[in-house]
């Protein structure tokens, strides 16, 4: 039996603009998302910012009502059986807010242990356990306002585990966390998965999904465009080669020119603190490096590498095709 089921989930919002002439717009954040997650599975929902990941997770955690479609957790309807769903899930927020800053970690956990109806006789032991799981033992008497982002994120996870829920929703748990902190968080998530928890993880870090997830779903513009194991998704682009170029001052015009090169399947340009990263996917066997460089115009070029496709390339391919259609 599936532990989490999303069947045609839809969610739209109404927003208003203007002062004198109020205009109401309807935005469809999620447009008919369907997937199932089996017991003990770690399912990743991947997508760019604004893709509908958090809205989907909020519907499945009962915080938002679906406009259409149904969601079920452990067989309970998320729209009508909210108390049963809430008692069965742990919801871990991303980001460094959402905690009581003026309290220490221990009081944050005590408070939520009461709200989650953790038996008083086991509360102290359970709080010690979750602090241990997330690696905050010894720091629990410090006020949260003095915590680093990674520590706050770990406290979010500890809070979501207090009542030992069989199902855990992790909404971008490593966002903004430094590399070492992220790695520790991934270790914690992997341990939870190994302990048999059913986990829905949203992220836009591909390597994270690749390392952790049994299956992933790619969501963009509110639609689930593809789902499968990381290996299955990577197989979509197995017949391709990726040229990766570190550069400066690559223009949108140049990117368009690259897209018109015969054999090129997808081109992405990421802006980074130290420059730009250009990725050009093409059919494998084609040698396009010189052609690409010739079309970059006045852009300054650094390191150039050719490599095998990764999950990120599969993701780019899916999102690019989905956006075009």
């Amino acid at each position: 039996m599936s532990v989490i089921e999303a069947d045609g989930l839809r969610r739209s919002y109404r927003t208003s603009t203007g002062v004198l002439r109020r205009r109401t717009h309807e935005i469809e954040a999620v447009r008919g998302v369907s997937f199932t997650i089996d017991k003990g599975e770690l399912f990743g929902l991947l997508g760019p910012n604004g893709a509908g990941k958090t809205t989907t997770i909020k519907m499945l955690t009962t915080l938002l009502l679906p406009t259409a479609g149904t969601g079920r957790v452990l067989g309970y309807d998320v729209a009508t059986e909210t108390a049963r769903v809430r008692a069965s899930i742990g919801y871990v927020f991303g980001g460094d807010r959402g905690l009581y800053e003026r309290l220490n970690a221990l009081d944050n956990l005590r408070y939520f242990a009461d709200l989650y109806a953790v038996e008083p006789r086991i509360q102290r032991k359970r709080i010690a356990e979750v602090l241990d799981i997330v690696g905050l033992s010894g720091r629990e008497r410090e006020r949260v306002e003095g915590y680093s982002r990674g520590m706050r994120q770990r406290l979010h996870i500890a809070r979501g585990l207090l009542h030992d829920p069989p199902v855990i929703f992790l909404d971008e748990p490593t966002i903004g966390v430094d590399p070492v902190g992220s790695r520790e968080l991934r270790t914690t998530i992997a341990a939870l998965s190994a302990a048999g928890k059913t986990i829905l993880l949203t992220t836009h870090y591909m390597f994270e999904a690749d390392a952790l997830c049994d299956r992933v779903g790619i969501i963009a513009k509110g639609q689930l465009l593809a789902q499968g194991s990381p290996a299955e998704l990577k197989a979509r682009v197995a017949d391709r080669t990726v040229v990766e170029i570190e550069a400066h001052a690559v223009t949108a015009d140049a990117v368009e020119k690259l897209r018109r090169i015969p054999g090129v399947v997808a081109v992405t340009l990421d802006e980074r603190d130290d420059g730009q990263l250009l990725r050009v996917q093409s059919a494998s066997g084609l040698e396009l490096t010189q052609t690409i460089l010739a079309r970059l115009g006045d852009a300054r070029v650094g390191r150039i590498a050719t490599r095998e496709p990764t999950l990120e390339d599969a993701y780019v391919d899916v999102v690019t095709q989905g956006t075009r259609s």
């Binding site: 807010r97 959402g98 009081d107 008083p120």
Partner: protein
């Protein structure tokens, strides 16, 4: 059993987490010195104008001073959930909402009583305020009922603060209006009809009237009616505040109006 923990310990932890004035350096000037000066101000104004004696202003302002603990307390304990983005985490639990929301009133009520006691003691020392010792038990009951009633009004304002994203306009405006309308310094009978009507629907108005009578030697049974009305008004605000919170919570599921995380 768990509801009792959420009510009492949850209320205490929420107070520690969300009440802005709990540090001593902020609490003393805001919660103690400011209302004490308020009493001194109106008592001396009363002496200068010859309108009423010290007892009138001391009793009125002492009862009204519960509002500083109860209104600001409740508005902060609910409205700050939104400021700190913690409300989603709270409503994502299946805890009983009655224990969750009403438990938050325990510390503000206690705080309101502390403030009233402090300003009464200050008034004994600095003004010509006297009350027979035999009146203290009845006076204590009036203070308790008034504080509870005022905290329930604060619950309603706190629900609105949660929805309107503002904690200061609502609390400051309400506190100032109560200073005028609750009879602490101006008898409601001399207010224009429409203000008098508002006054009779607010908490503390009947409590202040009862407290003045008790301080003048009336027995508890003689003010039971006024205390009953004060309690009834508190009950109505309790229902209204709770209904608003549940309504906003349900509305938030439909329209994402409260949660920001």
């Amino acid at each position: 059993m768990n509801s009792a923990r959420v009510f009492f310990r949850g209320g205490l932890l929420a107070y520690k987490a969300l009440f802005n004035f709990k540090q001593t350096a902020v609490y003393i000037p805001t919660m103690l010195i400011s209302p004490a000066f308020q009493i001194l101000f109106f008592a001396y104004l009363g002496r200068y104008s010859g309108l009423a004696d010290d007892n009138f202003f001391v009793v009125g302002n002492a009862i009204q001073a519960t509002a500083i603990g109860c209104i600001y307390g409740m508005v902060l304990l609910l409205g700050n959930e939104r400021q700190f983005d913690t409300f989603s985490a709270v409503i994502a639990t299946s805890t009983r909402r009655g224990a969750l929301y009403f438990g938050r009133a325990v510390l503000p009520i206690a705080n309101g009583i502390v403030v009233t006691t402090f300003v009464l003691c200050t008034s004994v020392l600095l003004l010509d305020f006297r009350m027979p010792a035999t009146a203290l038990p009845a006076f204590g009951i009036v203070v308790l009922v008034s504080a509870v009633s005022c905290a329930m009004f604060g619950l309603t304002l706190g629900a609105l603060a949660l929805r309107l994203k503002d904690i200061w306009i609502i609390s400051n405006l309400s506190y100032t209006l109560m200073l005028l309308l609750c009879g602490a310094n101006v008898r409601p009978a001399v207010l224009p009809g429409w203000l008098h009507a508002i006054s009779s629907c607010l908490p503390l108005t009947h409590g202040i009237e009862a407290a003045r009578k008790v301080a003048d030697g009336a027995a508890l049974s003689q003010v039971a009616g006024l205390i009953g009305i004060e309690a009834l008004i508190g009950g109505v605000y309790a229902l209204l505040g709770y209904a608003l919170l549940r309504l906003f919570e349900a509305g938030d599921r439909r329209g994402a109006t409260l949660i920001t995380v």
